[in-house]
Symmetry: D2
Subunit: 347 residues, 4 copies
């Protein structure tokens, strides 16, 4: 058994321009990917962002990390009774969580009763960490506490898949998991025409027919976008994130509308699971990237991770806009691919 | 703008033992991940596979790569008429595809008519390539041909999201996209007890309650597993794959049943999108890994990619079994995590 | 244009035996359906319930009725600001709701921000009514109030499909809509063998493979059952309900497990939308049926509707058990159908 | 135990005007419902259809009825082998089906292999019947034949939920189940303004934001409409259909676009399960309704059922258009409800 290093080619694209509740100003972002045509594509979107007054506006709507456990009880009536009692003693549970970490904070409990199984979905704040381990540790302590306090509970599992980690589910978008970020801008018609060689109307129509109608036909689940997964994975790998969280991260929604002749374009990304501390963060290039992204600054707890989430979302915005622009033009997509792969330059 | 390399830590785990229609014998597999506790977990499953007569049995059920395009027509009646005509001339389309690549072969066409939009989903064989670019190039040629032959078609998009690439949808599992691989084995009770410190009954119960019931409660889509995404991403990164395809790859199903007192355990992975040629394959460590995996041997076209898919699926089997085993034991998961992260060894 | 009456054949099946937090004792239930083989099937399950000590145990976990509206705002940041302000003034909204009906009570607000759209999902208590009209009236008043109080809101729609009414969605099961009822029992092995001509093991295996695995393969959404829709529609029609609510009603989960050699069997029905007042209730036969069901008694507000929900859920339990029993036996299903249709008697 | 009749109030609405591949001309349709505000709503849409040149254009894209069975095998490799053999002998299976009914015809077989389970989904033509019983009978014969021919198969179930009957799944829309009908028209702007008191732009915007975006947020599955279930249930009850099939029937898609200043409006309904023979058809009022709908005429086998499906789809179009029109106007929905319920007239 040997150790070695797998290298994923990385390039900084940008600068992209941002305004909003966490990030302001210009910022280059790093993308690590084997699919190197992603770089010119995102870069094109980034350039457009610098031509918009105020750039890409970002809004961080929510943040929480979750873990669901489950127990067996004699019957559903017992589950309901215990559930109500547990909910009434949430302060006690908060104290249990507080002993597991300085940063973990119990925000609330969601539940499902299915037959004689009781699923509890704990929601936490996790500081600057994505929080996978922190919430597992906290949930482990909570389970122990619950099993002692309510002996009628029988251990089921520390993870009951109602969390839901790295699976295509609806629960995360509805109840929240990770950082919920929206990036949006109104792009002047002239910029759309000159930089994307298309029109606001064509992009809006494509978005409705492909990202909404086409996705619905495909039997999609809370997914209405072209390729969020591509930008997210590249950004996650470059910044030391657990890339497998693109599974839920990819479940987001692109909207494109005409506003006074210009193009309103937004990406709603409810499930960005990122952190600036934790696994993967000790690697040299990751540290360097986080510093260049301004995510190693001295800020209130959680703000560096929030900044990182917004930058991820902005990268998604750039790549999504660029691809939709290309797909409104017959042949452009293929030409761009071939050209870049042969010459290393984008159209 | 600078270039550099992002390094993802890699370790070979194994050996795992396989029998089936593409791979036989022992094989170590490489996993590149920041989540390094994945290594001992998969390795535990790999060890178990070597204790089973015949090891993990693999079956490659199907393979195809897809791209959907869409057109606008005056109304649905026209769409239906053109669709029937296109289907009747599939040989002509096959010839068009044949001119775009030595390896691309048109297998069939699926369709959806939605209002006045006609979605065509082309299915291809793509040799040893995952095939993203090959099918885009082929679809581009097909669209051009169709637009010339049926002037009533109006260009919609080269990708209509009915493909469906890197999004959580149902279409890929139902119509097929990528390689459909099943890995399965009957694990003697004694091995379950000694190596996983649990029982076949506990694992079967956990699988039903967590992977099936819990996933259904979470509003999952064709997903009934604990953490396929983790093993897939690590395997994909180590072998130069487009890791964003874990989105559809994660949509698979674990089954666990009792057979004569032993544990039947299977992973059904309908959407493994892997190749041994294409983007990412030129990197030195990727080349080395593919060679060590026996995927650079002189075999009939497609067999190296099939071998790779089976090895990916077997890695999933190992990691899935190991985690389910751990989750039947209160506290084991957390203890294993902490122990490994502190000491670099697994329990 | 003429008026007339469409007659749906009705039969009372039962008696079924219930214990739990709303209903106790024996009760016949009426089923109106054109699919008359449903009657002997449900009746078989009802007979079994009377052979179980305590009968079918019912638990009403939750109840609420919902309506979602949406607004347009300049951008997501504004949506978030307004949302936080609205949430802080919920008491004011409660007062607005209180003026629209004696029975409507605002329980809470769920939300989604998608780009510059703000979706608010109002949750209400609605007394003994299913509540469609009551919540629309209340939401209309709430919208008017919100539009006046926050002039930056632009009217979107009184219904934004995040409610979600009569559509296959995940939101209802996760956030709650209608009455969430679980019916369950442990059926002695001897009863399973004598009355269903099968074994607990066969039913548990069938349930896992068909209702869980098969449904997942089909790309189901929060649905793991054999035929809830059949019993629900028949019960709804017989009691004057809006039968179209079987769409969400059908999204429920059957569980079957072995407990000490006997069969644990439960139906989890999170979205039963029923009432004892409102549209359809003025018809003579409906009135009569509600009386016979004990749902016209003088009880605290809401208790008659709760009783109705539990009786619906118990009917589902009976029909579901009976069909699963039949499907474990090759040929029984078809024989039963043919026999009943020819002779009007069940096997 | 008593028999009686449950009466669902029925009214004929219309006339609606249709052109297309199965129905031409004017036709009133009957709707049986307790929700009587549905009548004026659908009638408004019907009136609009008569103001459009050519009326509502209908296209019947496909028809088939399905039943899935499943078997257990020693392992997936065996499943694959048997599957390939079964597919190669489909003519033999066609003959088996032909012996069960004059009208049943086997069109094809879809399959899924999950671990050691083999799911076969048989597709049939069923003449003028919806076909539930016909395909169960045929599948029963097929299973018997398969079990005799391949003794390695072990009986699983006559229904494996991959059919999928009356459950919210993706498989039916993707592979087909029931009649796939599209109804569409271009409504002159002037008609939209005068009859719906709104504009094409408002309806198109509402459709995108509510039916597409709102549904996606709700975690919907192949559902992008406002209330298909309402019209379908009323039409089904009035014509003797199995109303529980609105579960899959409700999974359809509304599209609204601007075409040269007018409104393109379509309803895509892939899963209409209707017949003119079978259960429920013997009732007097059903017979009368089918006659008035022109579905008792002497036509080639299947054409009466196709006509019925198109009329159902056209009713959906009328009700959907009318509600969307109402929801673009603040307050209209509630006013219309109250007015109708008090006075029995629509606005």
């Amino acid at each position: 058994m040997t150790d070695s290093f797998a290298a994923v080619p990385l390039r900084w694209v940008g600068p992209l321009l941002l305004s909003g509740n966490v990030v302001e100003g210009e910022q280059e972002v790093p993308l690590a990917t084997y699919e190197t045509t992603l770089w010119p594509s995102v870069r094109r979107g980034a350039r457009i962002s610098t031509l918009i007054e105020g750039g890409i506006r970002s809004t961080l709507v929510d943040e929480r990390m979750t873990r669901s456990v489950y127990f067996e009880l004699p019957h559903a009536g017992e589950s309901l009774r215990v559930l109500r009692e547990v909910e009434a003693r949430i302060d006690e549970l908060r104290a249990v969580v507080g002993q597991t970490s300085r940063f973990a904070e119990l925000l609330g409990i969601n539940s499902q009763i299915a037959g004689r199984l009781l699923f509890l979905r704990f929601e936490f704040r996790t500081g600057d960490a994505a929080g996978h381990n922190m919430v597992t540790l906290a949930s482990d302590a909570l389970m122990t506490h619950l099993l002692h306090t309510w002996p009628e509970l029988r251990y089921g599992s520390i993870s009951g898949n109602y969390c839901s980690d790295k699976k295509a589910t609806a629960v995360n978008g509805i109840l929240g998991r990770g950082k919920n970020v929206i990036t949006e801008a109104i792009i002047p018609r002239e910029v759309v025409e000159r930089r994307l060689h298309t029109t606001p109307e064509k992009i809006a129509e494509l978005n409705t027919r492909k990202n909404l109608v086409g996705s619905i036909l495909a039997g999609s689940l809370r997914s209405g976008n072209a390729h969020y997964a591509n930008m997210l994975l590249a950004f996650y790998l470059a910044t030391g994130q657990d890339g497998a969280n693109i599974v839920e991260g990819s479940q987001g929604l692109t909207q494109a509308e005409i506003v006074d002749g210009d193009l309103y374009f937004s990406c709603t990304l409810p499930n960005l699971i990122v952190g600036t501390v934790g696994n993967g963060k000790g690697l040299g290039f990751v540290e360097e990237n986080l510093q260049r992204l301004g995510c190693r600054d001295d800020r209130p707890v959680g703000d560096n991770a929030r900044r990182l989430a917004v930058l991820a979302a902005a990268s998604v915005w750039c790549g999504e806009l660029s691809l939709l622009g290309a797909q409104t033009n017959p042949g452009e997509l293929m030409a761009a691919h071939l050209n870049f792969e042969r010459n290393g330059t984008s159209a």
